[in-house]
């Protein structure tokens, strides 16, 4: 895994979560995903194509997602509220947008699709050319997981 290419995602998640939730965050765990990815709760997925390809899943357990969405909405939201999913998608969009801004300015070119609510229970794991990394950010609202499965065709060619 090219950690220098992963670092912008970590920095962006840290910055966006800290600013959006007006708090300090901490990366508590970073690990390679050996198993097939299993969704924890409410998740948003963003796919990318180009010099860097793959997908990133932004995943929160349901209670944390509700707390985060309620904090950002300024009022308590029920779990069933569509705004909870919308909020998680937009947070994912902001994290990934900020990360690819950094990477693009470093010379990597790729396109991202708008984030989508991820409903599948299982997703990609690591493979020969697609490495998956999962990291956990601790926030006062709970843990936010970012699961990154990327491959770098520019470097593997």
């Amino acid at each position: 895994m090219r950690l220098d290419l992963i670092q912008p995602f970590i920095n962006a998640a840290d910055a966006v979560l800290a600013q959006s939730l007006a708090c300090t965050t901490r990366v508590s765990t970073v690990s390679m995903e050996e198993q097939i990815y299993r969704r924890r709760g409410i998740a948003a997925i963003v796919t990318m194509k180009g010099d860097i390809e793959g997908r990133i899943v932004f995943d929160l357990d349901s209670a944390t997602a509700v707390r985060v969405a309620s904090a950002l909405a300024g009022s308590e939201l029920p779990e069933s509220d569509g705004m909870v999913h919308e909020t998680i998608c937009e947070l994912a969009n902001q994290v990934i947008g900020n990360a690819i801004t950094t990477l693009n300015d470093q010379g990597f070119h790729f396109r991202v699709q708008p984030p989508q609510v991820h409903t599948a229970e299982l997703g990609l794991g690591s493979s020969e050319d697609t490495e998956a990394l999962v990291m956990c950010f601790d926030t006062p609202s709970g843990s936010v997981f970012m699961n990154i499965a990327l491959r770098f065709p520019k470097f593997n060619a």
Partner: protein, 148 residues
Amino acid sequence: MEQVAALLRSKDRQPIRFLVVDDSIFARKNLSKMVEAFGGRVAGEAGDGCTAITEYSRTLPDIVLMDIIMPNMEGIEAADRIMRMHPQARIVMVSSVGFQENIIAALQKGARHFVQKPVKPEILYDVIKYVMGEDVTTTIEVATGAAL
């Protein structure tokens, strides 16, 4: 709560009218809350570039807040089309994707400014004042939330 002076159109001292374009309902809602806290009014919303073009012609807003990555038609192309039809349009790109190529492309199509997400209210406020130029005036102070 932070106090800021409400922004009004200098020609008639009416609220600045905004078209908010973003595929995220959450983002539209947050941007709407911010501009309303500045004394503005949301004249319309759109969730993609195609709708933004028709909504612009329908509402003729003072400022468009335009996301970049959207389904159907992205924000830079929508900005280009709006500027061709309405050269006086004031378009501010608001996106998490802020790399130089995108910003330059948007400015070349006629966008007046770029604001990176997550949007800080004080930055958006200053950008609105800058983009409105002599067409904006300020009035009594209103309260605005800081954590949008």
